[in-house]
């Protein structure tokens, strides 16, 4: 059980001196510059999004994250003495971020993505910690996780970690530029992009190697597309400027961030400095091309699957009628879009192998995130109340197979499951 032994032994010795806490005590950890850097890193790491309950105090925890194993409740990371991290040291915080263990040695659940955060430097960890200690302390007791047996045991978690987690340091690649390495560091560490954009196994683990080949986000039923495949979300053919625009404003002519990615842009990437945004763009653009696996659509069958109630021709006619009545006004008679409304022709969200995202968009509509680059976005209406399952399926199938698009039909049952 070598991995277990290694895991047990790793507690770094640096900076175990007690630190004064509480709102009136100054934090002797490098002063305000460190705090400012910590605040920036907290945005990039998107800490507040998980550690803040809806309508709750910032960073005071309480938000439930649904997983296939039960619900995990994010902890209070304000510097509260009783219920927060007010008694922690930088070493304790490093232990959490790098080793996935709480101050008392308890193993943490990887819903807290320490599989990715493990790669941040000790300096960045200290800066983050300095920022958290500067927050308003909020005494709010942590809620016990609601996990099923045996997932609620430390033993099960230890086995999981043996199989799927090792603390790691980011290793810059010597043959790449400093800019590329900065981008890689952010993507693989604080950005924790792999937590969504890679396929999880049956134990809920992301691949141990670097992998952004796409994955369904558990429980939310959104698909985070592959960043390796140009037909999905691969950026190999985008300009660096366009990628930066996407990250910092949430909108390009190709389309806007919607669903879980809208939240990532709103809370995180819109705050990237130009330098970091460019570094990430350079890194993502350089990812090797790998075409996506298309398990659901056999070649040549796009649009030919039978609809149970209407038959193919009927469904296609229905789809076109629904499109003309509900969609053409904004997206154009030939799907080419206009103004702020994107074209659906060759639109990668429309033609993804998995249709879940498209169905989500039709049912729920949405606004791109408000960012300084796009402060007053145009919205898409939700069609949840207006269209039935067969109608949504028909119009989704229609846009997936019209105007040169080649993607599989959508069944009413698929729509029903997404509602």
């Amino acid at each position: 059980m070598n991995a277990w032994h290694q895991d047990q032994g790793l507690k770094t010795d640096r900076d175990r001196a007690p630190v004064a806490h509480g709102p009136s005590a100054p934090i002797a950890l490098g002063g305000s510059q460190m705090m400012v850097r910590g605040e920036y890193l907290a945005r990039i790491g998107n800490c507040a999004s998980c550690h803040t309950a809806r309508g709750g105090e910032p960073f005071a925890g309480g938000k439930g994250l649904e997983t296939p194993f039960g619900t995990i409740f994010a902890s209070n990371i304000t510097p509260a003495i009783q219920s927060g991290i007010g008694t922690w040291t930088t070493a304790d915080f490093w232990q959490a971020m790098h080793h996935g263990r709480s101050k008392d040695g308890r193993l943490l659940y990887p819903a807290f993505p320490y599989s990715e955060y493990t790669r941040i430097t000790r300096d960045d960890s200290d800066a983050l910690f300095a920022y958290l200690l500067s927050l308003q302390p909020v005494e709010r007791e942590n809620r016990s996780h609601a996990l099923r047996f045996p997932y609620n045991t430390q033993a099960a978690l230890a086995v999981w970690r043996t199989l799927f987690f090792s603390p790691a340091a980011f290793e810059p690649q010597a043959e790449q530029t400093a800019q590329w390495n900065r981008g890689a560091y952010l993507v693989r560490g604080l950005g924790h992009c792999q937590a969504c954009h890679s396929p999880r196994n049956v134990f809920g683990a992301t691949p141990t190697r670097f992998d952004l080949s796409g994955g369904v986000i558990p429980m939310q039923n959104w698909y985070a597309p592959s960043l390796s495949a140009p037909t999905e979300a691969g950026l190999q053919d985008w300009s660096v400027d366009a990628i930066m625009q996407w990250l910092q404003t949430g909108k390009t002519v190709q389309g806007s961030a919607l669903g879980p990615m809208a939240e990532v842009v709103f809370s995180g990437t819109q705050y990237l400095s130009n330098e970091d945004s460019r570094a990430i763009a350079v890194f993502l653009k350089s990812l090797p091309r790998r075409e996506a696996i298309q398990p659901d659509v056999a070649p040549g069958t796009a649009g030919l699957q039978q609809d149970q109630t209407l038959g193919t021709a009927g469904a296609q006619q229905l789809g076109q009628r629904v499109y003309e009545k509900q969609c053409a006004d904004c997206h154009g008679d030939n799907g080419t879009g206009q103004g702020d409304y994107p074209s659906l022709v060759g639109n990668r969200t429309v033609t993804l192998p998995s249709s879940v995202n498209l169905v989500h968009v039709i049912l729920s509509g949405g606004f791109p995130p408000t960012t300084s680059g796009n402060p007053r976005p145009h919205g898409m209406p939700p069609f949840r109340q207006t269209l039935s399952d067969p109608e949504v399926a028909a119009v989704a199938s229609y846009v997936r197979s019209a105007w040169g698009n080649r993607a599989g039909a959508v069944m009413p049952l698929d729509v029903n499951k997404t509602r």
Binding site: C330, Q338, S364, G379, P381, P382, T386
Partner: protein, 256 residues
């Protein structure tokens, strides 16, 4: 159909189209465009390049809240046109922060800045659109009388203030943040008071409506909802600028 009628109709539509195009080019006030958007088939005459306006941005809202609020089998979407801006803003924030529960609303608002929410609220507050005829007709006179009494005078014995004491004598609301209660469906009114009673809807503390809804008996709520949804709204539909006297209960959201 009579061909001359068809020609007249076509002529009317083309003249209307030209007039509306002129309005777009002149960047008219919010009045014409929402009226257009709320009129079903007339949506088709939108100019080829969508106008750069709040109404255009908020077509997502008109899909449910259009036609002065509307009903579907999934529930009621209340009228938002002409509500005080502070009230609309508070509700948008409430949906985003989970004090009101509606999955569709929360999803639409989740990634919106407070500044944009305020602009959206002001857009809808500025709409001065006619009300449809009252939804409730032929209600029992006893119920109506009971409802009207509670609305105008409350019930001192049970500590129930008159609705008009906060919502205005004309029940059209008070600027900046107290909503009017006319022109709303019976089921929506029942649903909101019910939601306050069981904690499904919350307002900023002190939550006066939660308190009042608990003091009202179910029959009172039905009577008030019946009377309110029976009242026509013709002129004088704007929120009052202020109240003649201080409200009885302290409210976290209506008056702050």
């Amino acid at each position: 159909m009579n061909p001359s009628l068809l020609r007249t109709g076509a002529l009317f539509r083309s003249r209307l189209r030209a007039k509306l195009r002129a309005l777009f080019c002149a960047r008219l006030s919010a009045f014409a465009l929402p009226l257009l958007l709320l009129s079903g088939p007339l949506e088709m005459v939108l100019a080829a390049t969508p106008p750069d306006s709040m109404a255009q941005r908020l077509r997502a809202c008109a899909a449910c809240h259009g036609k002065e609020g509307r009903a579907t089998n999934s529930g009621y979407f209340p009228r938002i046109a002409g509500k005080p801006a502070g009230y609309v803003y508070n509700q948008l924030v409430n949906f985003r922060e989970g004090r009101r529960q509606n999955g569709s609303m929360t999803y639409l608002l989740d990634q919106m800045s407070d500044a944009y929410l305020r602009e959206i609220a002001e857009h809808f507050a500025a709409l001065d659109l006619p009300y449809p005829p009252p939804q409730t007709t032929n209600a029992s006179p006893t119920t109506l009388a009971r409802g009207e009494h509670l609305v105008r005078y409350g019930d001192v014995k049970r500590g129930i203030p008159a609705c008009a004491g906060c919502h205005g004598a004309a029940m059209t609301g008070v600027a900046p943040a107290v909503p009017g209660l006319l022109g709303l469906p019976y089921d929506y009114l029942m649903g909101q008071i019910g939601a306050w009673r069981n904690g499904g809807r919350r307002a900023l503390a002190p939550d006066c409506m939660a308190e009042i809804s608990r003091r009202l008996a179910p029959e009172d709520i039905a009577a008030v909802a019946t009377w309110l949804s029976s009242q026509p709204v013709t002129q004088h539909r704007a929120p009052a600028a202020s109240l003649p006297s201080k409200p009885e209960l302290d409210c976290g959201s209506g008056f702050r």
